[in-house]
Amino acid sequence: MAVKTKARGPSALARGEERTALWLLLPAFLIIAIVAAYPLGRVLYSSMTNERFAAGTDIRGEFVGLQNYRQLLSLTLRAVPQRLDAEGRPVVEDGAPVYENPRLFLRRLDTQLRYDAVRTFDLFGNRYVLGASSSDFINAIWDTLVFTVSSVALETILGLIIALTLARKFVGRGIMRAAMLVPWAIITVVSARIWEWMLQSTRAGFFNTFLTDLGLIERPIAFFQTASLQVPAMVMIDVWKTTPFMALLLLAGLAVIPAELYEAAEVDGAGPIRRFFQITLPLLAPTLAVALIFRTLDALRVFDLFQVVYGESRYSMASYAYYQLIAARNVGMSAAASVVIFIVIFVFAILYIRALGVERDGD
């Protein structure tokens, strides 16, 4: 706040200035009210109703309290019983107990909510199943978290490598910096479609052809059809698209580190690794923190990639909320899912600000 010296002129002038300021701010705040504040309030309210869109007419829902949240987030952890033979003895095959099908077991339970199996695991000689009343949403939360952590981590490492490389002066640096803007300038949907094509499950796709040519694989990999590869494929696309942004931020951060520091360190005999950890990293930390926050909050609300590539076969948190709204026409559930996403993002933001001690004041 550089102009806080209260050297006020005639108070009429000051009052005029204040009035002008309020008028000038009005449009911005009007827009924020219409497109953010009111809709957010409406979403909060809708999330506690059973509002739906029916053909043509809206059913103004009734208030149902936290029912939607229960439906979205209820979990149950149960021990799966062993399968019994006709005489009621546990079946054993090859010395290992045989368990019932966890999905059917959950279905048989006499609970108010119906549960679907999310994960099964063995612990201390028992088999357990984790059931969720909205397994799609629970999976979406998990997938989005995995996606966020892995893509932000990879982007940071790759971004740092690229930034450190390009920080040197060399012939063609301008070309490299221009090349960095290419992935950034490509629409996310378009980059999803390009990678969808490159990752085709047959050798018509680039990756399957290339990996075969290198002799790394024998038969084509079905990247999008193999459950365990679905999220990594998303990470791959996202890392390509957003690493340049990270690298650009870090490059700008590197540019403001005074060169004398490095010269002094070199005179003192510090090697490149020590210089990196003792000068570069600490001085880059504030930029890194801001870049991390931006990217994490962005990754948590990932929508385009998941929606374009997987549609309704695998969700991110945001594409689940979209699906509930448009395909299932379930406004109440969609709103509740949005609120959950909002809370998750908010928690991440608070954690980051706490952990990194970031301050971004207005001046």
Partner: protein, 284 residues
């Protein structure tokens, strides 16, 4: 001996450095190259296995098909309209608010800034259902509703960057104009606004690109009016003219068509864009 070892490590370092540069370059550019090369392939070559690294018989068939695809062309038109309108409106709103927050003294200045900063972190998905309801109730057509809803992410950013820019202009400009009897608004319009032209170009470009890129609102609000679909929606729902299955040749041609103008724009203004992107993130 010492100098010799030094020169060997130097040469090795240079080789490693240039290898790294080439690798990074390929990584950044290759997917776009693949899109171009696929767009130039015939349908037969596209489904051929293994894929060819270079088009064997380059053809413009896919590009021709894309330029005869009404849904795609309408998408382009809609996107230009929407992104253009969003850019103009955000600059107008942003420069007003930026001037007030950057140069004027008034109560509530700091809280206003914080509200706007908080908005930059605001997840769009959180208001999706609410905004959809507002638009349905108002009976707003899809295109204007897209323009309005895009302001949710362009406004905070524009205000933020322009505030910083206005703050950087010398106070003496404002004072001398006031001494000359100009009203505050006249000072803003006649003297300060022309000086902010570079910042306006930067923020305008970034707002344009964000609006051009947006998919969630576009997909949602055009779900009942396909004629209002923008480029990302058209690209996601692309149905081909030639091929019966997923027409990847045409999709790649479309990808190239919508990307090339943007890349040209970005390369022309690259210094400004980098400055705009990094504004606020780096403290000098």
């Amino acid at each position: 001996m010492g100098t010799k070892r030094r020169s060997v490590t130097y040469v090795l370092g240079q080789i490693g450095f240039w290898l790294l540069i080439v690798l990074i370059f390929i990584y950044l550019i290759f997917p776009f190259y693949w899109a171009i090369s696929s767009a130039l392939k015939t349908q037969a070559e596209l489904i051929q296995t293994p894929a060819t690294y270079l088009p064997q018989n380059p053809t413009l068939v896919n590009f021709r098909a894309v330029f005869q695809n009404d849904a795609f062309l309408r998408g382009l038109g809609n996107s230009v309209l929407v992104a253009g309108a969003v850019t103009l409106m955000s600059l107008l709103v942003g420069s007003f608010a930026g001037f007030a927050l950057g140069k004027l003294r008034f109560r509530g200045r700091a809280p206003s800034l914080y509200v706007i900063l908080a908005m930059t972190m605001f997840p769009q998905i959180a208001v999706l259902a609410g905004l959809y309801a507002v638009i349905r109730v108002l009976g707003m057509p899809a295109l204007p509703s897209l323009v309005l809803s895009y302001m949710i992410f362009t406004t905070p950013f524009t205000v933020w960057v322009l505030t910083a820019f206005f703050k950087g202009l010398p106070v003496s400009l404002l004072q001398s104009a006031q001494v000359d009897g100009a009203t505050t608004f006249q000072t803003f319009r006649k003297i300060l606004l022309p000086l902010t032209a570079p910042a306006l170009v930067t923020t305008g470009l970034l707002a344009f690109i964000q609006a051009w890129n947006e998919y969630l609102f576009a997909l949602t609000f055009t779900s009942i009016s396909p004629e209002a679909r923008t480029v990302p929606v058209a690209m996601a729902l692309f149905s081909g003219q030639i091929a019966r299955q997923e027409p990847f040749g045409e999709i790649m041609a479309g990808a190239v068509v919508v990307t090339v103008p943007l890349i040209v724009l970005v390369l022309v203004f690259q210094n400004r864009i980098v400055a705009g992107l990094t504004a606020g993130a780096v403290k000098g």
